[in-house]
Structure formats: C-alpha cells, structure tokens
Amino acid sequence: MSTIEQEMVHAAEGGHHDDHELPFIRKYIFSTDHKMIAKQFLFVSLFFLVIGGLLAMMMRWQLGYPGEPMPGGMMLPDAMMAPTPDGAIMLPEFYNSLVTMHGTIMIFFAIMPLLVGLFGNLLIPLQIGAEDMAFPRLNMISFWLAVPAGILMLASFAVEGGAAGSGWTSYAPLSASGEWTGVYLGQQLWLASLTILGFSSLVGAVNYITTVINMRAPGMTWFRMPLPTWALFVTAILILLAIPVLAGALIMLLFDQTIGTGFFRPEVGGEPLLWQHLFWFFGHPEVYILILPAMGIASEVLSNRARKPIFGYHSMVMAIIGIGFLGWIVWGHHMFMSGMNPLLGTSFMISTMAIAVPSAIKTFNWLATIWKGDLHLDSPMLYALAFVSMFIIGGLSGIFMASTPVDIYIHDTYFIVAHIHYVLFGGSLFAIFAGITFWFPKMFGRMMNETLNKVHFGLTIVLYNLVFWPMHNLGLQGMMRRIYDFTQYEYLAPLQPMNQFISISVFLLVAAQSVYAFNFFWSIFRGEKASNNPWDSNTLEWTVPSPPPHGNFPEMPVVYRGPYEYSSPESETDFYPQTKPPSKPPVQELIPEPVTPTPEGF
C-alpha cells in the first residue's frame, strides 16, 4: 500500500514531462519508465527463451538417439548423466526434469513475459496516450519480483535431487511428496518460484487494468483503442483472476511438500483431482493469456502492412472478450481422462466446441483483412502471416482433442504436443517475432536488418514445420508424451527414424534462431536510424520520437478516430493518424477538450 501511495505522488508529477537526466541505476536498473521496464522484460525473457531451447535440444537427443551418449554430456554432473567409457548417457530422472523445466520456463519465463511484460509495458501507455503506467513504481517492483523467481527456477537444477520432475502441470500426488520422484528441494523451489512470479504478474495486471481504464487520452474511447491494447487489457483481467487461484494451489502443494498437510495426498484423504481442477481453472485462462496478445499484435501488423482497415473491428474486440470469458468454462477438457465425472466431460466438450465461434471470427476476419489489400510483404508482415497460417493448424488440430471419444486415444500422446506447439510456437512466438520487429524502431530508434530477418523467417517457418508436423503422426501411432525411451514399447520402436528426423530438425531450428539473435543485437547498435513513423501507422505511439522521451507525449494527444483508418478517402496519404484533426467538423461529444496536466497530488 505504501508504495501505491507514493505512486500517486509520482504519477501526478508525471504530468510535468521533465526530462532531467536520471542517474544510471535509476535509468537502466531500477527504472520506473515503462519503456525501460519493457526492454528489461525483453532481454530477460529472451535469455530464458534460449535456455528453454537448449533444454528442448537435450530432450530431443534422448528421443532421437535413445540411450546413446549425448555430445558434451560429460560436462554435466553425474546426477544428470550416467558416464560410460564412450560418453555420458542421459538418466531418466534428468529427462523428467528436462520435460518439466522446458515447459515451465517456456510458458512462464519466456512467452508470458514477452507477451505481457514486454508488449504490455511498451504498448499500453503509448497506444492510449498516457505518459506512463498508473503506478510506475509498482511496475518496477513487478519486474524485480520476476527476476528472483527466474533465478530460483534455474537454481533448482543445481540442488540435491535435481529440478522438479513431475511435468509443468505438476500433477499431485507425484509432486506432493519427494518420495515418488526423488526430487524434494527442486520441487519446492519450483513451487516457490512460480508463487513469486505469480505475484509479479498480479502486480502488473493491476497496473495495466487501472492504466487502460483511467489513463486514456481525450477522445480515446473504448472502441478507438488499438487491438493489441484491447487484447492486453482482457489478458490482464485473466491474469488478475486466474493467478490467485494458482497461487493458492501452489501454496497448498508447498505445504503438502514441507509441513506435511494433506490437501493433495490421498494416503491421508487428500484429493489429487482437486489439484487438477485448481490448476486448470488457472491453466486454461493461462492458455489464452498466451495467445490473446499475440492475436492483437497480428491484427495490428496485418492491418498496417495491408494498408487496409481491420475487417470488423468491433467483432474482433467482441471475439477477444468472448475468448476471455470462454476461458473460464472449458478447463475440464484437459481432464477428460483424469477420472473426472464423465458427465462433466460432456458439458466441458460442448463449451469447448463453442470456442470455434470467436476463433472463426478472428481467423476469417484476418483473411478478409488482407483480401483486396496492398500487402507490403516485409518481415513483420511475413511473421504475422505465418502466425495466422500456423494458428489455423493449431486451432483445427484442437477439434480432435475437443471430441471426447477421439481424445481417449490421442490424450497424453504427441498429438497434444504437436497441438500445443502449433499454438504456442507457431502462434505466440511468430507473433512475438512480428511484434519485436514491428516495434523495434520504437524501442531502440533503429530498424532491424530486413534481409537477415527474411533469411531467419524462411529457415524458421520450414524447420518449424519439419519439427512439429510429424509429431501429429507420432501421436496417431500412439506414442505417449513425456516418455524417456519409447523404444521400450515394441509397437513404438518403428517410430525411431521419424523421431531422429524431428530431433535433427530441432537442432537446425534452434541454430537458425542465431540469425535473429545476431540481427537483434547488431541492429540495436548498427541498424539504420528510424524515423518517428517508419511503418506509416495510425496509432499514437508513432506520433512521438523513436525512442519516445521520458513522459512519452510532449503534450496531451487528442484522438479523433479509430486506429485502423488506412487508405481512407478522407486522407491524402494511405494512412490517417488518430491524432490528425478531421477536415470536416467532428461530432462534438466524442472529442472532449484536452485537459492541461496539473502537478498537484496527495
């Protein structure tokens, strides 16, 4: 509370737009500037993205070459690798840790901070015309809570017994007591880390929601907000209401692990299914937390690069809200095989099927947006189109699992693994590439190298599909997920070549990302200087210098129209900035007089 209070004073003073130089530590480390915090999230989560990729490579080595010594395995401790004369062989407990940590790190420490931490902080204030977040200091706290969480998560690899090994879903009772996995401290660190990270996201969500509701510039009505901001707003609400339920469950599980309570331990009457209900009650909204901002980013880029208004802006917004609500009533479709009451299964199947409505709106509206457009196929557009194309595949493969009888067979097989990666990698990550490339000039004042980006795009889209498409086939052949050595089952042994093929593709896919990494860092220092509005965009962030000064807007912007007025006949250029006064007299009540900032606070 104390912080929030000083917040007010600070935020109030934000009205000054004073550009005095801050000392290094306040400017780059403990910064309260939303743009700097966004960059901090960007760098940290890119680091975790790399870690997650390396974990995936090790996992795929074991699957591609079961029981064969792993190159460089000798460098890893004996707790992870069994040393043999001709190299080190991966141990099953380490494989389980890899499965768990790859999922956890990618979801909670890479994709989520990139979408929410990076784009939420960068875009919300800039796109609604605010000089900063409502509570800048809370914003800083949210980042500095995420960092120790990440450190704890990584540290768990080094502790006795290794990192958590019960899957990123940590199903009880496997996760409720170390006696089942041999992992005691690792699992507890996993729980503690996620609890801290949850609190960090919570603080961020409070900030975003307050900012969007209260800090919009004059004339920025709800239905003049750009779609990324809309998506991030709904996402923040999902985080706000879903994370606390997870936090409660995590703490109960931590108590089961440490002080010996019995919530999820059947031997004393606990309910394993209770954990699954609580986890997925959070977990399905989480799935949408990971895709909604991506949808918003894709919509923005598609409309801009097609120089055409987004098709059906209002229904796009309604679809975002609809997905946000449906997220709360479908979580049971993760539990069809869990022993949950089968009648519940049916109702969850129907509600899950209903998701087809908002998804169809989104997909077809994206197609209709590029229809009769003027497509500038530069790298952000390519990534965004890849997002649409991959999201279609991920969405369609979802229908198989939604149908309960089919799910009986493909549940917990590689078909699910393929599905989640088509949505999370093909969906979210491609949108993240699009977003970073698109807003790179706004973040760093320079453009990314177009050629390198196109090379990276080509390699990634091809290798990505070579990796994850065959996983559908593996699943249909009945290969279970999270399995250390599938050759133990003779009916799976014939799948060896395909697994090898996938593994090799993964190694190449990860290697291909170095192109983007190089381009990213090279462009920060050497990229060509960017103008205020390199993409001829309408939204507010492009009316200010790149990168924007402290306080963002020299004077309060006034908004006259929606964000996607491209190729409008009213404008002589093919774009029509939201702040440009209209030629013909506007409708009065939509444009209130700009208020002059007053410094007075509490």
């Binding site: 004059p218 994370i243 009457g269 509490f602």
Partner: protein
C-alpha cells in the same frame, strides 16, 4: 480534491470516474477474492468428500473465543470507517485517534488468534499428517481421535492466510498513522486513508465468511 490531481493530470473521461489509487485497490481486492475462493473451494470439496475427517462445531474449536475475536474485527472496521469520516471533515486529530484505535484492536485480533493456535496445538490439533491425533477441548489426551488430517490442514491454511492479511493490514495501518501524524492527509487528499480502509474492510468481510464456514458449519 480535483479529479485531475487524482488521475495524474488527465480527465477520467473516458474512464471509471474513480481515481487511480482507489481503482487499483479495488482491482487488487478482486484478485484477493479469487485467492480466497480457491482456498474455500478446496475446503468445500475436501469437507464433502471426507466428512468423517471434520469434527463437529465446537468439538475442537473454541467458538466463544473466536466469536469474541470476530466482534473485535467488526469493531476495528467501525473505528477505521470513523477515521475516514473524521478526515473527510478535515479532523486530523480524530483521524489519528481512530487509526490508533484500529491498530490496537487489529493487533489484539492477531494476538487472540495466536493464543488460539497455541492452545489448539497444545491439545494436539496440528496440520501435520504424522503427528495428528486430534483430541477435543477439555477431553482426556488419550481420548478418541476426532476428525483427521484434512481438518488441521484446511483450518490452519485458511485462518492462517487470513491472519497474515490482518497482520499486513496492521503494518500498513501503522504506516498510514505515521503519515497522518506528519499531517499528510487533508479533507482534499485522503486517498491513502480510503484505500487503507478498503483493504481493512475487505479483510473483515473475508473473516465474516471464514468464521461461518470454518467454525460454525
């Protein structure tokens, strides 16, 4: 106080017509609601699934003591709201007095809860799986087992988390009192007191529900 001041120099139009601090606190309280929903939901499913593990009301827990504690918390809500009313009239002395009263009553609530925990633990009512063989109040220690593992787990988790919230509230109250003593609040700028009150009343509200569910049903 002018709206601009409360929303950092911008009109709340379009907006919530509620200044940032207060809106932020309300939004934060929503997440708190979901947190306690998770705990209460777990309690409900465990209680219905294993009724034999849960003792009858008053068999283990001391209802009268806790009823008194509930009364304390309600009183602290009144004093808190009185403090807010005082500063609305610009009465800084009244604000300080009522805040002090709230701090004292809130702290004594925590004190009573700690005493209750110690007493219960002394009777063998603890959350641990291995140690727990519940004996009711004023029953011989070799008496029959009442309830089971889940009873202790849920009881200590739910009341414990509420107790933590109260303790945090007391600390924040002390901070608010310190600022009030410096004369930081006036009739025009009382946001700090108001959100402090919102948090405090919410904690009270949660206890009203918990007391009924955990102790009486």
């Amino acid at each position: 106080m002018t709206t601009q001041a409360m929303t950092a120099g911008r009109a709340p139009m379009p907006g919530m017509k509620v200044y940032n601090l207060k809106l932020g606190m309300w939004i934060f309280l929503l997440s708190e609601v979901m947190f306690f929903t998770g705990l209460i939901g777990s309690y409900v499913i465990l209680r219905f699934a294993h009724p034999e593990q849960f003792a009858e009301p008053g068999q283990v827990l001391n209802i009268n003591l806790t009823a008194f504690n509930t009364f304390l918390l309600i009183c602290s809500s009144v004093t808190m709201v009185k403090a807010y009313a005082a500063i609305q009239q610009g009465d800084q002395q009244g604000l300080k007095n009522w805040l002090l009263a709230t701090i004292v009553i809130g702290a004594s609530f925590v004190g009573v809860q700690v005493y209750e925990y110690i007493a219960l633990a002394g009777e063998g009512f603890v959350p641990m799986a291995e140690a727990y063989h519940a004996v009711g109040r004023h029953m011989p220690h070799d008496g029959p087992a009442i309830g089971g593992q889940l009873y202790g787990s849920t009881f200590y988790t739910m009341t414990g988390f509420h107790g933590t919230h109260v303790s945090i509230g007391v600390l924040c109250l002390c901070f608010t009192y310190w600022r009030a003593a410096k004369g930081a609040y006036t009739a025009d700028s009382l946001g700090g007191v108001e959100i402090m009150g919102l948090y405090w009343h919410f904690v009270d509200l949660v206890w009203i529900i918990l007391f009924t569910i955990v102790y009486l049903i």
